[in-house]
Symmetry: D3
Subunit: 316 residues, 6 copies
């Protein structure tokens, strides 16, 4: 295999210059093969409060211009080891949720047909369901590591089964996830009733509440997460509202009391040995962002997820 | 007693829809009895730097639309146990501070005449004084648990004895608070001289500085707070600037180095067994807020205060 | 009939204080009869670019607090002559456009059952269709005076016939509007092809382009508008993007080169003798507003529309 | 007389560098004599809606850094002809309106004791009254050319006679203005009742409504203004809300339908031959500004006022 | 020649989706030939006040997503008649102005080598000089139609001859422009001295001041402009600050009293018969923009310039 | 020596009133001697991404109005012990980096000629180099305590050796720093390659990564820092981007995962016994700030640095 095509060289093209691709990586059409694709899915038809995540992919790309190739904490240069590409946006029908979901699964299957993996930038959390369907088709039911302020295992909302509050319930019902390995991290805030957590538990999920971070620290969270995931194939789904609104104001349903970006990034870095088969980062709503701080946090999350998915050299 | 009237059902009326009452609760005039009232006091005539807290009540109400009824950390559904209402705003004269203070005490006494309790949304911190006067009339001198970046026990400012920097000194002088049980949490930033803290101490207050949070953690703060409060009747006064400006930019005298919202909410949750007889949340200045992050933090503070004031079932 | 209940008295309750109803008018449930209702319809499921008009009604209400009762240019005090009320928001299903449309027509018929008239605050422009259906049921096909940057007579978008770009085509097809009396004002910006205007013309509409304002002035526009409307029953539909983005940044599909608010308000004032049977003001997207300037423009538009709909004393 | 000390040389000190004085002019203490002083009065204790004009002077100074010395339309270099200085801020008691008013008059008399003139930057419109008192002491009752969305001739508000809505009524009552020469420009928006304009008329004022600008143009306004003022000594008072909110969002009581900055500046330039004895520019509330556009408009207004007050060479 | 490749079809790919190219046009590398290229030049090393125009090209592209293909006022579909492409950004050295200028000229010559024409998006106004050098190499000295608040014919600034305030003086000195056909439109605001305009005049320029717009209207400006340009080859240079700050806050040296976007677009449309050989739109500084209103104005300017450069069918 | 002239008395002049000097301290020209000067250096010609730090000094001054004279944590009143002055801005050529650097060194030597010390407010990080040159001339090679997200020991960028990414490499090469005592705190984010940290290490620096804060806490950091610095003369350089973007959005190259302001201030307070001979606080870019939170953080950093540089009373 040829050496991967990496990001645009910032000593030739200043970071504020040039096409806006994720991390200034090549587009899908600029390479012949790829190991990991970053896909934008600008769909926010499942939103229940502040809409606008449809502008998320463009915003995260623009906010990713400062990402550099070498991760000194993980001591890895993901774009040297893998061919990573920006697969652009998947255009989906904003008025037809089920059509959109089908298109997402289909595109995800296309992009992973050759063993490649996918990191998706939303869009709202509804898109996790079709992405999990595709992941399950490739890997069997996957464990979900879910970072969010909210459980997203509600049932219906205004009779609609497919919204940004329901993907993991639907996924559990459909059998595309392995509920024995799923865990929510960062959950907080009031809910409708005590049934919310009960039903979540019945579905098989575990919860690490944001308030537990004070005692556990990121190391404690990482330990519990990894114990839960085991060696299952894992899908990581990051709702940017897992961060406190101070760190991520640009989102649809913010909830005070969240994680700091330092904590979140540390937990993500701890996934280096986990078998992460796919990931998403969702719910960035740029109209509520300021100075790209939410976009930059999301871009860093995507970058650490890519690093976590980068094969490590095998020592002999 | 009838079952309390709770918030508007979000499965019928979307959260962005409908009248803006606190947590979408009923108005005072929609129920016949109530246990706890949320009152807005849009007065900012005591401000010394950035004004605008007069818009605080409307902003916190609008920012409270995401609050749901069940608190999973405290495992309580306050609006099921108590009838909580939004008592609207008290209209006070913006040009007559002493008239405004008298009106506030009077209204607070009205709303607590039947044993009900009151959570007030400011407005600036000046309003704590008339609220303490009313609390003392109901309960005798109260211990004050005061979250703030500033002591608010200064004497006069430009010869004015009643400003947002003086309520607790006036309250101590008037004997409406029990200084042996008072504690400031989150104090930080430079002051005028070493006399500031000395005089505060002479008045009987204790101080837990924001910088101590690093060593104490929220648990340590909670322990010291509860040890100080004992079983006294307690009034909780939360200046939103107790939070770091990252978490609460929308306030009049921000001070770097503050608490996180996660820490503040945790300390508030620890008050479940404390005899909280009244509370306020003040100094939200919406013109400086962004994406409602300050308003949402204040709404969550009010919610946790209400939960702390909710009677627990007696186990037999 | 009793004297109408007017806005809250600002010499008793400061304008920043008190419940957020349109122009601080009474709620529907506070009066026994009414002549004109202001209804919020927080629906933005038909948006094709920037969403967020679901927050429009709350924002316009909050931005309407400075409205006073007497219109010195029109020399009329609408709230003295008519009982005007705020009918609150109509809660509609965000995931079911046809259900939402049906509910809007139904509610509009309810509110106009006794001969009352309706001014609706959106929400996106999709809502004009069900409002026109209701208007036609009351008055027969109505002439539409349509202020907008865009024609909104497109056909389908992503196969969806009911979007914010199509209400007037659907209305024409359904026969609920009298196309011989319809006129668009403020149209500008590039379109898909020369068929756009052709098809619009075939439907019977006339166009006064924004660029014509330079020659016509508001008086010229008003003359052409009134000549077109004649003595038909008229429905006025104002998309806030008829204003230049400088005057109304808080909207979903801004287009440079628009009207000033001074021009728009002048044209609206010229409608005093026209038989306006209903009106809407739509597409306020608060996430993109600044300092409420869009909200205040929309509130002023609604106020002038109400004045235009106020009966004039008959001179003898 | 020595050549006046002008602004800092921008070819030596970049405009973003150096102390923030109005137009980068010298401070009062840096010169021995002066012809015209620019004074900041950061008082907003008379505000009835959005406060914050206390930050106006600092904001207008910072926004005035781009002002250059030569006015090509008026063909005059005011800082060459007169010694213009920044007299800094007058510190007034925020909690004592009558004390503040007395201090303002006193300081204005000081600064005009040697025949110098004064341009004051507010602060809210309350400050016009003490400034008019001082002007009258120097020049006898003055004609007022008043640019504003609002009449500011209301009587009391919450029993307070001295607010930002009342200065010109108080001034008329006190006889410090010559009502036969007074005119309001830019008035618009609804008022409390038809008595508002009637009472204003009784006090002797004339009104040029903002809506008349469409027919009159700036030339027509200028003609009517100058006909009204005659050769009286004139005080010009500019409330920045005379501009439409698009041009001046950073103010306390915005009103759509206002003047453009191009129109306002043109009318101000027409005052070259008028005997302007003093002026103010008030109601800049920076918390609501964006990108300094309101501050820059106010700085330009102040600059044109200074130019209008600059003696013209006498041709022989 | 094949039919040109036009913008992405918005009925397949929603406007918020997909790569961010100007007007969603194809990239240069996606076609084999082109008639007109849109080039980004993210250089702001010549800025004297607020920097940040380096982010201009990315911002204008993102703000151009709403542009549609048919111009109904000009009745032309430019992308049907010409192959228009987005040539991406030219990466230039931010620390080496003369190197950057050389690179710009070189790239401009490349892109116009086959008779194609160029519309450039800045970047600051410094870039007009190398673009004029290239234009002169292709067409001989060109007449410049210059829209701006400022003359940009200053000499040096801090000894630097190449800044955003000097391109047209340098161009005149170098003989790359035909000063007998040059005209500035929209000039306003104070300058250093009366020599500024004198020297500009000596260089051969004519000035249409922004304040003249009140009398001339856009038609009068267009007439004077076209009379001045005659049948010379014309280069149009648009500094976005020609617009009033209300319409274009996102720029480096705003000046109140400017043109409206409606006026500017009308003048640009009047150029349909003029021999426009090249154009630029510069000085968009996104950090100061709000809700993309400046970006959208700039995108519309670029669109109208492209339309003006589109060949008209020859009637027989 | 006379008692130092302290800040303006806030009981006489409200904090929002009066000239904008750092902490409302006297200007250099208002005193005869001084112990410590605060100097603004509005230079941002070395920026590689978001420019605008040229407006940093004015912004930090305006944001410093709430600073009070007594530091209760350090129990010291720096302005009582030392004469601290605001030395204004050093005007440097924005187009000539080497000239600017020379001017900075020269001015720094002037201001420290009598044994005084200097705290500089940038401007971008390029200015640390000439400040270190001056410090070395006074004290010999200094240890650098460097707070930053980035190493700033890169070599050249676009062939330019003097940028905001290179000051410490140049300083090391020139021998003006004592690399055996240097330490970076808060480093994080991806870099170009593993050589970045290697080369930094070769230069002699130590790194405390931001991610280590989770384990170390501020006390651990402080211990490692002080162990590293020893009793060397120390120069402290604080890039405001050492803070997480939530705490300091107003900067040029933000990086998620940073320090909180509480942590940073605590570490700075720990320097009380260290021989700090000079300091800077750089990279505040106001165009990206919100509600002055970045400016206030920077002002607090400067204040704590001044406190750390304040002589302690010698106990006998």
């Amino acid at each position: 295999m040829n050496h991967p095509v990496g990001p645009i060289d910032a000593s030739v093209v200043p970071r504020y210059s040039g096409w806006s691709t994720f991390a200034r990586l090549p587009r899908l059409d600029e390479v012949t093969n790829f190991d990991l694709a970053v896909l934008g899915v600008p769909f926010d038809g499942g939103v229940t409060y502040r809409p606008g995540a449809r502008f998320g992919p463009a915003h995260v790309r623009q906010s990713s211009r400062l990402l550099r190739p070498y991760n000194p904490v993980q001591q890895i240069a993901p774009f040297d080891v893998m061919q990573v590409v920006d697969a652009g946006d998947l255009a989906v029908n904003p008025f037809d949720t089920s059509g959109a979901l089908a298109a997402i699964t289909s595109r995800a299957l296309d992009l992973t047909s050759g063993g490649s993996r996918l990191v998706t930038i939303g869009g709202d959390h509804t898109i996790a369901l079709p992405l999990l369907r595709a992941a399950a088709e490739r890997h069997g039911p996957v464990a979900v590591l879910h970072f969010d302020a909210h459980l997203d295992t509600w049932d219906t909302y205004f009779d609609e089964p497919y919204t940004h509050g329901t993907p993991f319930r639907r996924a559990a019902e459909e059998g595309v996830i392995d509920s024995t390995g799923c865990v929510h991290v960062g959950i907080r805030g009031p809910v409708y009733s005590d049934r919310d957590r009960y039903e979540d538990q019945v579905l098989g999920f575990q919860i690490i509440g944001a308030e537990e971070t004070e005692d556990l620290g990121w190391r404690g969270i990482a330990e519990r997460v990894k114990a839960r995931l085991g060696d299952r194939p894992v899908y990581v789904s990051v709702d940017i509202d897992v961060l406190d609104p101070a760190f991520a104001p640009g989102t649809g349903t913010p909830e005070p009391g969240g994680l700091t970006s330092r904590e979140l990034l540390a937990v993500l870095r701890s996934l280096a040995g986990v078998n992460v088969v796919g990931a998403d980062i969702v719910e960035v709503a740029p109209a509520y962002d300021h100075a790209e701080i939410t976009g930059m946090a999301a871009a860093s999350v995507a970058y650490e997820l890519i690093c976590a998915m980068t094969p490590r050299p095998v020592s002999d």
